[in-house]
Symmetry: C3
């Protein structure tokens, strides 16, 4: 028997075997099936190929390098500090032209702080006191600025602390001191690289004088990534002056979508702007403190504490490149067509169990093999094959 | 013939054609197949839909903005520098409340360094010398602190160098000077945005007094992202005091997993903590040097070099949002069912080549088409069709 | 009828039903189909399993922590500033050993800037003037350094401005002042973690003396991530000295590709280097300005402005880990086989509509169900089934 098995196997290995179909003259299911076929076809062509470019080998892991440089100066004139000029070196954090940079728009300065004793701010709950007993010595003030000395100062009703004195005055910002930052411009240079296709590209074409004067314009100046801060904020749907008071975070999205089957010159980045910090409630705002440290002649250290409010800009680069490749093409077609299997499955269910004449269809669709008695298996097999062949040959023979 | 082809095509285009099946009364394979069907069904429902939410259109590219702010002060009292107060401005790097921030827990200070001549540290192999000949002038000390002057200093047995003098004393840290940093608190504000669904959310609800006093608690204070540094480290499975000596890196993971089909209020971030720097061997630790620069009256520059050990906290935001969408639903069902094809393939193999009565099954499953002689092809065809019909119509006719 | 339906359903639920096939003795299509089968098989084995390791459950979201530390000193001797020693603290930005770090290779220093009045640089277009009328007071110079005072200075032909004076001299860099930075070494410590498999690993094995002397070597020192800056740049295909003049950006890629089915010791990172900033045109270069602030005895602030050119190194860590898992294995096999459906679909088209004897094949492949008259449906059904059975049983019976 095994022999027969192998023989027939070898013989038939190059015969194409195709499923035998029963034609159910049932237009309902027929139409249904055609629709499913169309849907699948539409999905493959419309979605997989046109929308998702399924015929391409894509790379998402983009290697990107961002360099930012701000330009612009402004003059502030506060009662506390008098006139002061601010240039990029003064108002940008960090200085090294990073992907993420912060621009000061408002500040509270506390110059000449020295280590010493002074009353804690009355805004700090933990520092309030009536008697010295309320101020445990050597204990740090919770969410405060120093270490309690053990004295309670009546004037302020707060504990005396050892800290950088004087303490910063808690003065909520009203209007932005560096409001003119609206007119500063930022130059964002972005180079990307798709290693899989060893394809590099930059958002700048030529430098020098051109970049000194241009500002970005999708149509006329696509290769001039120089933006006015005010424009960025407004394109993100917010008002600069308002945002400048308490600060915030703006995302600058650079989208590279390069179809390497088309001309490379069409691979131009899209810029979009969005506010990243949620300002639905009054939690919004961005601020931090930094200090400049000095030493006087006696070598004693003192510092200028500055609480700065401002806008943090976060340049985010996304991108993918695609190029025709046969493997994904075949696989996408194949797995698309494979979906038809599901359609057949479904239609069969409908036909065999939901139609009036289901039984008829079932009867014709399913054909049973009669059980053969053990003893005559071997022989029976042989016979059967011949018989079957005969039977199936009949029509052609007549 | 082409004509015939087209005719029959048009006629039958809306007839549903269903595969003809042979019922093999073979319970073994039958059960096997049913199992496979169940497995596939289980996979589709259990895995694709319930676990992976295959019915949703998801977005993984989360736009996130993180703002951190530390609170807390501590007093240090070293023999070298005397009492010194440390507030957030002093012990956090960088100051601008970034996603990644470093907190000083230990330090070695070398004040008042000036450019001049002094012996190199004896810890530097390349600087050891017996005679001046061992110290080539103008040569930089490998992994050292300065440029060799050409003299060998006998006291130290090292070359004299031109450097920032005095050289930092190599004193391995024993116990953390800023060990109290354990009680500092960090406020982590995180806003996320899923542009595809234009859905924004923040991990803070209301600000002001509430945030001043609360600390994070999954159940009671899910909207109070204020963490004690000590808790963070211990939740990462380490001991703060021990880690504070040589420093390390802690990852703070914020996981957003938003099912937009459910109520938005259920979209609350999960916080988890892990130690990122491998401390399996003695390589662990995190330290760096920085300097503050001063000028004396004569305009000569000098600096205070500080080698700081500490913990770097890296806030990592992951997240995805999902919303019901018909396309992925259909595709997932379809490709799930398509898996049945594999099951059929497998069961057929079993049935046709591994069962005792394989030959019988093969005989009934495969039905051959007799070759027709060329000359009578056309006629033959016509006949055949009729004949076949007759034959197959018999049962219904009787 | 419904009853009959259910009865037959229950009876046959564990009968295996296999498609009935028609053997088309057509070698052409047969061979075609076998080829398709082979292709699919090759795809599954070769691509899905061997290349893509489809039998593994993989994790791409790698948790990584990078620490960098530079070593090396150099001596500069400029006419302006005289001899000056540069150590890591002086030439690295930012100091805290970040993933991204900048090394100064060239600089323009402007010491002792004070707020005051001086002529704007003649390089700024907006500042050129003939008479005072060309300089509107209080107006900031576009892309300039200060605020116009209203005077036009004839010597320079530019407006007088209120700014940090003196203005930086625009002197294009010719040769790198810190060219010796080529010999600096950077130690890059990288620890990675795959949370799904809770598997951690570091690119360093033992620390201390070993790391002080070794330099990276793929074969001999795979666990010594100490690189010479010059080597990094040259391995990125560029010349350090040339790059040092205007600066640039170098990407350091660390690739972790861990097959957790194999020995963990085989999970060693690969390092590769590439230039990230596009230098195809003359836009390349990397520079920024920073200032050190001082105060003189009278408390007046002055600063040293430094425009630094240099190389930014960006350490990028990629990686994935894979471990055998049954679910992806089964799914990949299944969906691979499902592709065969597409092959069948295609071959059938060829057989039925492109072969000479298509009609013959169609005739045998499709078998129609005769419409049954309504009134005798019920009876007809029962009969039919029996009849069919009879008919199909004939061969075995004889």
């Amino acid at each position: 028997m095994a022999e027969g098995t192998w023989k027939s196997l070898c013989l038939s290995v190059f015969d194409y075997k195709t499923e035998k179909y029963v034609i159910a003259q049932n237009k309902k299911v027929g139409v249904l099936f055609r629709c499913i076929q169309l849907a699948v076809l539409g999905y493959i062509i419309g979605w997989v190929f046109i929308t998702k470019k399924g015929y391409q080998d894509t790379e998402d892991s983009i290697q990107s390098s961002v360099m930012t440089k701000l330009k612009g100066v402004t003059l502030t004139n506060t009662s506390a500090n008098g006139p002061r000029l601010w240039d990029a070196v003064d108002y940008v954090f960090p200085p090294q032209g990073d992907r993420v940079f912060f621009v000061i728009t408002n500040l509270i300065q506390t110059p000449d702080q020295k280590l010493g004793h002074c009353p804690e701010s009355s805004k700090v709950p933990d520092a309030r006191c009536r008697t010295d007993d309320d101020c445990n010595p050597q204990e740090a003030v919770v969410a405060g600025n120093g270490i309690k000395t053990g004295h309670c100062i009546n004037e302020t009703g707060t504990c005396e602390i050892y800290a950088w004195c004087p303490i910063e005055k808690p003065s909520p910002p009203i209007n932005p001191i560096l409001g003119k930052a609206e007119n500063f411009t930022v130059y964002i240079k972005n180079s990307v690289r798709f290693s899989k296709f060893s394809f590099s590209r930059s958002n700048v074409k030529d430098t020098g004088v051109y970049l000194k004067n241009c500002t970005y314009d999708e149509i006329n100046h696509p290769y001039c990534p120089v933006f006015r801060l005010g424009d960025i904020v407004s394109r993100a749907g917010h008002d600069f002056q308002e945002m400048a008071i308490k600060g915030g975070v703006i995302g600058i999205l650079i989208e590279w979508n390069c179809d390497l089957d088309k001309s490379y010159s069409k691979c131009i980045p899209k810029y979009s702007f969005t506010r990243l910090d949620d300002n639905s409630n009054n939690t919004s705002g961005y601020n931090f403190r930094f200090a400049k440290y000095y030493k006087n002649i006696s070598g004693e250290e003192y510092r200028t504490l500055t609480k700065v409010f401002g806008i943090r800009f976060d340049v985010m680069v996304n991108g993918k490149a695609g190029k025709f490749n046969i493997i994904p093409t075949v696989i996408n077609i194949g797995s698309g067509l494979a979906l038809l299997g599901a359609g057949v499955f479904f239609c069969d269910l409908v036909l065999l169990y939901m139609m009036k004449k289901s039984t008829v269809y079932r009867a014709r669709k399913f054909e049973s093999v009669k059980k053969v008695k053990k003893n005559e298996t071997g022989k029976g097999d042989g016979k059967q094959i011949i018989e079957t062949q005969k039977l199936t040959d009949v029509p052609a023979e007549t």
